[in-house]
Amino acid sequence: MSEIGRLAIVLGFVVALWGIGASVVGALRRDRDLVASGSHAAYAFSALVGIAVAALLTLLLTHDFNVEYVASYSSTTLPTWYTIAALWGGMKGSLLWWTFILAVCNAIVQAQNRAKNRDAMPWVTAVLLSVGAFFLSLLVFVTDPFERLSFTPAEGSDLNPLLQNYWMTIHPPSLYVGFVTTTVPFAFAIAALATGKLGDNWIRTTRRWTIFSWFFLTLGNLFGAAWAYVVLGWGGYWAWDPVENAAFMPWLTSTAFLHSVMIQEKKDMLKVWNMVLVILTFALTIFGTFLTRSGVISSVHSFTQSGMGPFFMGFLLFVLAVSIGLLAWRLPMLKSRNELESVFSREAAFLLNNLVLVGIAFTVFWGTVFPVISEWVRGVKITVGPPFFNRVNAPLALALVLLMGIGPVIAWRRASWQSLKRSFLWPTATGLAVGLASLLLAGGNFYAVVAFSLSAFALTTVWTEFWRGMRVRQAMLGEPAWTALSRLVGKNRRRYGGYVVHVGTAMVFIGIVASSVFKLEKQQGLEPGGTVDIGPYTLRYDGVRTESDPHVDKTLAQVFVTRDGKPVGTLEPEKRFYKRTKQPTTEVAIWSTLGSDLYVVLGSYDPPTKSAVLQVFLNPLMSWMWLGGVVMALGTAICMWPSWSERTATATAGVPAGTRTAS
C-alpha cells in the first residue's frame, strides 16, 4: 500500500509538471490541444493525490506500524475517529492533506470552466498546478509520508494527546480548506494579469470562491479558538501565539478584499488594491505554513518543527516576485476612471475599513516577526506578548465596529446631511443609550463602555436596514411581514447575508470584550468538602473518581456547583494520563449559560491527602462568541447560496458565474 502511495505522489508530481508546461506553452502558442492536455493533467493530478491520501488512510486504519508516519502518529488503542484525524496530525500527512484539498479545488475549477474563460484557464491551471507541484515536491524529495522503517514496532507512539479532541478533528480541515481555497482567486488574478484581461470577469468568476474561502477561514479560526479554550486549560481562547496569528492574518486581508471588491464592482475603483489584497492573502497562507513549520519563531504550540523553512521561504519569495512583477507590468492598464468624491460616502467608509483591516494585519505581522527583526537589527531577541497585540488592536477593532455600522447604510458617492440624519439618528441614539447604560452598570472601564456602545450602534443600523426594507415591501406589494422579510433577503442574498455576518461579528466582538474585561479568576487548594466562591457560584470539592482503559487513565474531580444557593449539578474537571505517549493532560469542565461560562480546571491532585487545587474562571458572555460564530456562518451561507435570479442574469448576459449553469 505504501508503494502505491509513493508511486501516486511521484506520478502526481510528474503530471503536474507536464500540466504546467502544456498550459503555459499552449496559452502562448494558442494551441488548443496542448491547453486541453494541461486541463487533463489537472484531473489526473487530482486523481493521483486522491489515491495517495486513500493509501495513507488505509495504512493508518490497518495499523501498519512499519510505516514511519503511522507508527509516529497513531496506535492500536487510538479511537478510529482520531486515527482518521492523524492524517493531518503530523507534518507529512498535513502536507499531503493540503495538496489533496488543492487538487479537489483544481478539479472543481476545471469542471466549472469547461466552456468558459478560454483565455484565462490555461494560466489558472498552470498556477494551481504549480502550487500543487511545490507541495508534492516536498513529499517526493524531502519528507516522504510513505517512508518505511527497518523494523516494525509492535505499537505506535500515538497522536499527541492535545490533538485528541473533537475540535481538533474539524479545526485543521476547516482552516486548510480556507487557506487552500485562497489559491483559486489568486490563480484567476494571476491569469488576469497574464492575459491582460483585467475587467471584472475574474472577480465575478471567483466571487463565490472568495466567500467560500472566507467562510472556512472564519470557521477555522473559531474552531481553533474553541480548541484552545477547552484543551489548553488557561481560561482563555486566544494567546496571540505565532501559530494563531498565522491563521488570523489571511482572514484579515480576505475580509478587506470581500469589502473592497464591492467598490470595484460598483465604481470600477481600487483595481490595483484588490490585486494586492488577493496576492497578499495567498502569500500570507504560505507564510503561515512557513511559520508553523520552520521553527524560526518559537511558538508554544507548533507541534512539528522541521527543516521545511527554507523551502517555504523560497516558494514565498518566488510567489511574491512573480506576482509583483506581473502587477508592475500591468499597472498602466489598471488605472481607474473614477475618483472618490466625498469623505461622507460609502466608498470612503469602505476604504477606511480596508485601511483598518490591513492595519491590524500589519500590526499582527509586525508583532509576530518582531523577535526575528530585532535579532537582525540589534542582535538581541525581543519578544512582544499578548499585551502588545491587545493594546494595539483594541482601538483598531473599535474603529472597525464603528465602520461596520456606517458602511452599509451611508449613501454612495456623497451623503447629504439629510440622508445622514435619517440613516444614523436612531443608531446613534441607541448607541449612546447603551453606552450610558453600560457606564452605569459596568463602571468605568473605558474600552468596554465604548465597545458596547459601538456594537449597539452597528447592530441598530443592520436592524433598521431589515426593518425599512421589509416595510417598503409590505407597503408597496402588500406582503405579510414574514413573506416580505424572506423575499427581501432572497432577492438580495449577498447584501442581507452580509448584514447577518455583521450581526454575528458584533456578537463575537461583545463576547471577546466582556470575557476579557470582566473575567474573574480564582485558585484554591481544597480538602474534600471544601468550597470556593466565584461570582454567583459556589463550588464544593467532593473528592475524585477514576476511570481507566488501555488508552488513557482519568482522574475526575467531583465538583458540586450551586448558583445563589440553588444546585446546578456536578462538574468533573479531569487530569488524564495518556499511556502511549506517557503524557499527562488537563481536561476542563465548563458550565455554560448565555450570561457567563463557569470554567473549572483541576490544577493538581494529591492522592494521599485527597486534596486538590482548583482553578476557577468566570468568563462573562463567553457563549456570545460561539453563537456569534454560528450567526456569521449562517450569514455567509446566505451569501453563498446560489440564487436563481443571479444564474439567469449571468446566463443571459453570457458572463460566466462561479457556479455551474445548467449542464
Binding site: 483598518v356 492595519g359 512582544v384
Partner: protein
C-alpha cells in the same frame, strides 16, 4: 486642497496613528528573549528589564507546595544540541564557560503546566529581583524529548533506504 490630496492626508494620518500605536506598545510591552546562559554573560545589563528566559529545570531542585501553589526551582542552561529553537543560537558566538555553569533560582505562584517536571525545558517570563527570577508565567516547551525519541528509528530506516 483638492479631494485626492485630502484623502492622501487622511490615509497618512491613519498610517501614522497605527505606527504610533505599534511604536509605543512595543516600547512598553516588549521583553528580552534569551537563554539562561546568554543572560548569565552579563546579568547587570538586564537588571530591570522584562525577561523571557529559556532553560532547563535542574534535576532535584523542584519544591512545590500544592497548598499555597508556591513553586521554586533552579533554572540551568540547556546542553548544546538538545534545545531545538530554545538554545543560544547567535552564530559563531562562544559563551564564557562560567555562563554555561549559570544557575538561576526561579519562584512562581500558580498551577503547574501539565508537562512541568524535573529536567524539562521551560520558558519563564518575569523579572530578576535580588538574584531570584520572579516568574509571572511558566511555559513548558514542546515535548521535544518525545520528538527526539521518535526520530531515532526514522534515522535507521533512512540508512536502509526507503522501499521503492
Amino acid at each position: 486642497m483638492n479631494r485626492k490630496s485630502k484623502f492622501l492626508v487622511g490615509a497618512a494620518i491613519i498610517v501614522a496613528a497605527v505606527g504610533t500605536l505599534v511604536w509605543t506598545a512595543v516600547r512598553e510591552t516588549s521583553a528580552y528573549f534569551m537563554t539562561v546562559d546568554e543572560w548569565a554573560v552579563d546579568p547587570k545589563a538586564h537588571a530591570d528589564a522584562a525577561l523571557r528566559l529559556a532553560g532547563r529545570v535542574s534535576q532535584g531542585t523542584v519544591q512545590w507546595n500544592p497548598k499555597t501553589l508556591d513553586l521554586a526551582f533552579v533554572l540551568m542552561p540547556i546542553p548544546k544540541g538538545q534545545g531545538g529553537t530554545h538554545e543560544a543560537r547567535r552564530a559563531g558566538e562562544v559563551l564564557p564557560a562560567a555562563a554555561a555553569a549559570a544557575r538561576l533560582p526561579v519562584s512562581y505562584n500558580g498551577i503547574l503546566p501539565d508537562m512541568f517536571a524535573d529536567g524539562r525545558d521551560v520558558i519563564v517570563e518575569g523579572h530578576v529581583v535580588d538574584g531570584v527570577f520572579h516568574a509571572k508565567s511558566l511555559l513548558t516547551t514542546c515535548p521535544s524529548k518525545y520528538e527526539a525519541d521518535k526520530q531515532a528509528p526514522a534515522g535507521e530506516a533512512g540508512d536502509n533506504g526507503s522501499p521503492a
